[in-house]
Symmetry: C2
Subunit: 138 residues, 2 copies
DNA sequence: CTGTATCCATGGAGATACTG
DNA sequence: CAGTATCTCCATGGATACAG
C-alpha cells in the first residue's frame, strides 16, 4: 500500500520515500508548459516550430528546455532529418507517455469536481469542530 | 470522457477546459509544501507550531500562506480557542481531503514505476522512429 | 503561541539578438 | 528551420524582526 493512512509525528523513511514518488510525478507534470506540450504531441509527431505555434505563448527557450526534460524522462523522442534542408527535427511522443493517462485522468476528475464544489458551495458542515481535548503545550 | 485522445491542431475550448481541471488539481498539490502539510495533518488536528515542527524546514510565513490556501479550498478548517491563553489555533483536515487520495495514489504509483524505469533502463526501443513523410513546411 | 511585516537573495521566465 | 546566448524583470521564498 502506497500512502500510509496514519503517519507518525516525525517523518519516517517510508513516508518520505512515498512522498518522493508523488513529487517525481508532480514535478514532471507540473509547471506551465509540460501538459500543453504533451497534449500537442498527442496529435502525432511535430516539428519544433509547429510545436511553438501549437503551444500558445511559449518561447523557443522554454520549449527547448521542456522538450529536453520530457526526452530525458523517456516520454518523447527527438529525431533529426539531417538530409533535409534546412535540417528538420521532429518530436514524437512515446507509448510510454500513455502511462500518464490514469494520472492525468485522476487529476482531471478531481479538478473538475473541485471546481464545481467551489463554484456551488454546500452547507459548510465542519467536521471534528473547534475544540479538541489534548492540546499539547509547545 | 475527460481527456480527448486526439486533439485538433489548435486549442479547442474542450481542450483548454479539460486542461484547466488538470491544472487546478496540479496547482493545489504542487509546490514545495502542500503535500507535507496534508500528510502531517493526516495524523489528526495540529496546532500551528506543531505543524511547523512536523513539516521540516518550513517558515512561519510559508506555513501561514499554505494553510490559508488549503482552507480556502475546503481541505482543512482553522479553529481558534480564544479562551486558552495564549490563544490556541488548530488545523483539522476535512474528510473532503480524502477525495484527494485517488489522485495522490495515481501520482505515487506512476512516480514509483517511473523511478524504477529510469534507474533500470530497458532496451531503448524507439517507436515511430525518425523520418515520417508529410513534413509540413513552415 | 500565532502569526504579520519587511528586507533581500535567488531563480525562473520573457524579450531580443544571434548562430549553424 | 532549430535552437542558443544574454539581458533583464519580477515573483517566490528565506531570514529576521516585530505584533496581538
Amino acid at each position: 500500500m502506497p500512502i500510509p493512512t496514519k503517519p507518525p509525528h516525525l517523518h519516517t523513511q517510508a513516508c518520505t520515500t512515498a512522498m518522493r514518488s508523488v513529487r517525481d510525478a508532480l514535478d514532471l507534470l507540473g509547471g506551465k508548459w509540460k501538459l500543453p506540450i504533451i497534449l500537442a504531441l498527442l496529435g502525432g509527431p511535430k516539428r519544433f516550430k509547429q510545436l511553438q505555434r501549437d503551444v500558445l505563448g511559449i518561447t523557443a527557450k522554454m520549449l527547448s528546455k521542456e522538450l529536453k526534460e520530457l526526452e530525458m524522462n523517456g516520454l518523447l523522442v527527438r529525431s533529426v532529418q539531417a538530409d533535409a534542408t534546412p535540417v528538420a527535427v521532429t518530436y514524437t511522443l512515446q507509448s510510454y507517455g500513455d502511462t500518464l493517462f490514469p494520472v492525468i485522468e485522476a487529476l482531471h476528475d478531481w479538478g473538475l469536481q473541485h471546481r464545481n464544489r467551489i463554484m456551488h458551495p454546500q452547507v459548510p458542515a465542519v467536521e471534528k469542530t473547534a475544540v479538541f481535548e489534548q492540546v499539547v503545550a509547545a
